[in-house]
Symmetry: C2
Subunit: 699 residues, 2 copies
């Protein structure tokens, strides 16, 4: 199937509606760019006041433009856009880029105009990019619907951006660096075509080897995860998210009118979908470029050859910080290295060939180590020296990179003397960084992608021993939006979560009855719609060993609560078996507007707040995703048995996460849920819900 996004990049004819004769206008710049980079289809300026522009005949309206025509670029004031859009629809055009701003991002009337455009596009089954964007580039067809000056080199990175300025800035930054792109797409307000659509398109496109994305907000998070999880299995998706902090999110929302939402959910969603998230623009392209021209590292052992020790030390720090190590070079290989290097050279890794090292010395290092099984990655480094031509070294690196399937990254510390060296390396698919800390970061990102790829492709957790209708019924009859322990217990039971045994009592006699049934010692807890944090008010009594103690506790608790909160309605008491020894953890859920149920796991008690030791994941999850979410926390280390401590039933925790996920997925009315604590028993003995609460959404 040919995607309906194809005409945005390889149309047979393009109309620029609103193309101006005035070189000071952006629309003129777009027309000019259309003519500059080898695009061979028809280029049709539409402007009723002009005969021709830039030597191209101009047309009074879209209806008069000749066939074939399958893309229109609209550069007119917002208010004129709907009627032009309608004309495009009539003309049978299925792909339109609206460059102009003045829509949703300015609020008020702009929102209405954008809505009107949406309706028109829908009625004519047109795909729209924009409004408020800078358009698209295809480095293969030469199509360039942007007004950006210059284009990047041709290559295999498909770049999609929710910010036009980031597109422009990136081109300005990298145009002379030889970093190769296949496509550029600026999506603006995403009236129709979204980041997810574009990632799916790039995912299917044979010319795209790596997808790079700049994202501010994702509206349909569930679809994003579904699509990107599939795409990531074929090619890496490297992504930079703006609005990670509250201040950044506010900045995003003020300029796009979109809510950036909670970064925690984004982060969890990215991780589960195989997205390689980076933290800044420079890393976005360092990582995408390396992925697009080098194989993934097959392991984490790096050999550095360098003409300078200091930068190699900085590189080593960065490698270590990103999970890579310096490969151990066997003694006989060290001896071989020494044969043709400076007698003072250092032949252990990093191999320091000393300042004057020339191309044949780099060649020698490669030759000795290319087949060394203990080396997974080569990192040749150079600090320019007046007597050595960096381009010669670059040629040596390229020559040797061709002889191996191992990852080769180059680092040359400098700028002014490295133009030719960079060109040699980048034209031949060896990424070059100028800062020694970059290769470590790049390798770390490559490795995390490799790990994601190696995960088994199992289905999400699903449970059949649940009673969904019963839970639906209970939730439909909930008396209030905040559910305490006594209301959540039956819901938990419906979904097969193990509860500590016990029951609800309205008075001391009933409490004693329940205690006799479950056996002493017991715990007594207040039940009141007005009290959510029981322990703060003395609403929990532990370890009651006899009937006398239990009766006395009922009396004390009732009078204490009545004194502290005279208006609190006391519904009754929960009487539960005193739990055995175990580790108390929290399993929670908060529904994210974009991604759905965001599951949370962390250590119980004061430590969850003190150490913020919490893992997140988006439901539904596979068992291994839940396991990874647990293992990423310190609480997970405790569960696994820390330093000879007891090991607990991690499988029961995974199970609890899965069941609470399913409860949340099945019942969208549940806005928040928290099992706190879940008492995790020793390995093989399960886990018990000791307390839980939920918040329902307004109906």
């Amino acid at each position: 199937m040919i995607s309906d996004l194809a005409p945005f990049f390889s149309p047979q004819g393009v109309a620029i509606i609103g193309a101006s004769q005035d070189p000071q206008k952006l629309s003129h710049g777009i027309l000019k760019n259309m003519t500059l980079f080898g695009y061979t289809g028809g280029i049709y300026p539409v402007n009723p006041k002009a005969d021709q522009i830039l030597g191209l005949p101009a047309y009074p309206d879209i209806a008069t433009v000749p066939d074939p025509l399958d893309l229109a670029v609209v550069v007119l004031p917002a208010s004129m856009t709907p009627s032009v859009l309608r004309a495009c629809g009539e003309r049978g055009i299925k792909a339109v880029i609206i460059i102009s701003g003045g829509f949703k991002e300015v609020g008020g009337k702009g929102i209405e105009l954008e809505e009107e455009c949406r309706q028109i596009a829908k009625s004519y089954q047109m795909r729209l990019i924009g409004p408020n964007c800078v358009g698209t580039m295809d480095l293969s067809t030469g199509l360039n619907t942007t007004f950006i000056e210059g284009i990047p080199a041709k290559g295999a990175i498909g770049f999609v951006s929710q910010s036009g300025a980031v597109c422009g800035g990136v081109v300005d930054l990298i145009a002379d660096k030889g970093i190769g792109f296949s496509h550029f797409a600026s999506l603006g307000n995403e009236l129709d075509v979204t980041e997810t659509d574009m990632i799916a398109f790039f995912g299917d496109h044979p010319q795209v080897r790596v997808i790079a994305a700049y994202v501010e907000a994702i509206e349909d998070g569930e679809r994003f995860m579904r699509v990107v999880s599939q795409v990531s299995k074929q090619k890496p998706v490297v992504l930079l998210k703006a609005g990670r902090t509250d201040a950044g999110a506010k900045a995003v929302s003020s300029h796009t009118g979109s809510m950036a939402g909670a970064y925690t959910a984004y982060r969890a969603a990215f991780k589960q979908s195989g997205v390689i998230e980076v933290e800044d623009i420079v890393s976005l392209f360092d990582v995408a470029w390396s992925l697009s021209c080098q194989p993934l590292p097959r392991g984490n052992r790096v050999a550095i050859f360098t003409n300078a020790g200091g930068p190699a030390a900085l590189a080593s720090d960065s490698l270590a910080a990103n999970g890579f190590t310096l490969a151990t070079i066997p003694p006989q290989k060290q001896a071989q290295l020494a044969e043709k290097l400076n007698p003072s050279a250092q032949v252990a890794n990093p191999v320091d060939m000393l300042g004057g090292a020339e191309a044949h010395e780099f060649d020698h290092c490669f030759q000795v180590l290319l087949d060394e099984p203990g080396v997974d990655v080569f990192l040749p480094m150079l600090v320019p020296q007046s007597l050595v031509d960096p381009a010669d070294i670059a040629r040596s690196i390229v020559r040797n990179a061709r002889l191996t399937e191992k990852t080769v990254l180059a680092c040359m510390v400098g700028e002014q003397s490295l133009g030719e060296a960079r060109a040699v390396l980048h034209t031949n698919g060896v990424p070059m960084s100028v800062y020694p800390d970059v290769p470590g970061k790049v390798l770390g990102a490559m490795q995390s992608y490799r790990e994601w790829l190696s995960q088994s492709d199992s289905p999400p957790m699903a449970f059949s021993d649940i009673d969904r209708p019963a839970a639906t019924e209970r939730l439909a009859h909930a008396q209030q939006l905040t559910l305490g322990e006594s209301e959540t217990r039956p819901l938990m039971a419906d979904y097969g979560l193990n509860l500590v045994s016990g029951g609800f009592a309205t008075d001391a006699d009933q409490a004693v009855e329940i205690a006799a049934e479950v056996g002493y010692p017991v715990v007594l807890k207040i039940v009141s719609p007005d009290i959510l944090h029981k322990s703060d008010l003395g609403g929990i009594a532990l370890n009651l060993a006899t009937e006398t103690e239990l009766r006395s506790a009922v009396q004390t608790m009732r009078s204490r609560i009545t004194t502290a909160m005279p208006k609190a309605a006391i519904t009754g008491f929960l009487v539960q078996k005193m739990a055995p020894e175990g580790l108390e953890i929290i399993v929670g859920m908060q529904r994210d507007p974009a991604f759905g149920p965001l599951m949370m796991f962390g250590l119980g008690g004061v430590y969850v707040e003190l150490f913020k030791d919490v893992g997140f994941g988006v439901a539904p999850m596979t068992r291994s995703q839940a396991q990874a979410m647990i293992a990423a926390t310190k609480a997970g280390q405790l569960l696994a048995g820390f330093r000879g401590g007891p090991s607990y039933d991690v499988d029961a925790v995974i199970d609890a996460i899965g069941r609470l996920s399913q409860l949340a997925l099945d019942h969208p009315t549940i806005a928040e849920a928290e099992i706190n604590p879940l008492l995790v028993l020793p390995k093989g003995e399960g886990a018990l819900v000791l307390d839980a609460r939920m918040i329902l959404s307004e109906k």
Copy 2:
């Protein structure tokens, strides 16, 4: 006093010993560089085989070079260096730079040659830079003793580097960026002149406003801290340390022969001395450059004016991550902003003037907000647009920056179209970054320096109620290198640390006697030179309430230990009063070879290992330094009363850190010490040493 390092930068005459006629030799490059940058003193090539080089008369030896002559640069094989050095001494030269390698860094004979040079320098009272370095530059005098191609712009950053390659790489990186330097100094093996000497020299030099340093290893850490703490009060010291990880430290040590030592100690020392530590080369110069031309931020509220929302969102994220916030622009100022901006502009912060924003719009933003008291920092941002000249925007920024004493940093996202804009900004003292995440990082570094400067300048903690001679005596008579609780108790008492009351008993009767004295309940602990981890072997019994329980515990413990470790010598038992409720923490000391006693503070129990929640500081410390070390940890938050929990006696912890520091400072034989746990009681009630151990160094 004129420093004896002055001749390395502003000599009256320079001899290049070993200057070659061959343009392919580094020594020729040095001579050429000496002639290229306006140095007005005498330049004397010394080469017995040449008449003249580069048009300068050559001299057969140093003795024949005319006066005035106060610097010699030696570029000869290592083996010839000692005799030449002696000739320099005879000639009365007091400053020599040895460029050549082949000394300590190659081991063996090289170490001997370096030692010989040290003796010669000492006997003639010469100062030496190098060997194995690239020399010095002074951008004011035009002196350039390096063979690096190109020089940086003239400015106020004094740069000292332990790696010559880093010097060369940096020049290549920044030569065309307009970042201004006053001095460059590559120190190589630091036979004589060290990083600390150079920082002290730059500290006194009126042309240096900021000191930048690349450091691999510091030999005399105590002197470094003393000197740099003083210099930092006058001007900022920005530092990049290589060898922060084990791999990096190994790389450093393999290429310099120096041990990098424990990064933990470096980090604590840097923090206490006011050093602004950065993590990569690019930050070293971003931060140094901003500090050299802009005032420190007076507060943390930033106003962003931008022509592009996306980069502003990325900048906002970075600001937030570094402790800065977006300033709140009052409604009347927002209205004023709106008057002259694009009607669709966003006038809340970030102020988004939209794509076409021109210089007068930047002017307008500045004019409205220059005097706004709620703004501390201005961050104008630009993404290049084809219709606006970035240099015009740069001129607007420069104009307005001159009108304010607030910090102004510019960010222009691009490269190829920004050459002139950068030149305008950098020539006029406004630092420009190309990546939106940089200003946040730079401001964070500036702010941390400002906070260090604002610390009260109090003396280190000192205690008079200690009995140093008693401790000296005890340590002199220690029977073994590992001291357990019973041996450390009296030492702790000598230094005024509060011990839980109790005493040493050899049998049950004595134990009962002590218990009667301190009062029940008591704790019983085994004392054995063979057992350091008592609890693992059942060597601790808690909460013994009666004489019967105590006698039974003595018996059980003795038989249990005898069974588990038949060869363990049981010296006896400690009987201590059962401690009250409190928070258990650890205070430790590990002696660092470079910096001396490194103090450690952290949470007790399993959590210190699980969460690695530990603070470090170098003794001696002021009270506020100890307080900061505590406050930086989660344990510190618990001590202070976390979320309504009890608050503990933090002063007693500071006191314990101070007393253990003094014990360590007074007795260098103590290699390690650990109070574990220190039981911290509620506020005002002090802290009790419950257990402690020490390791002494081999004598």
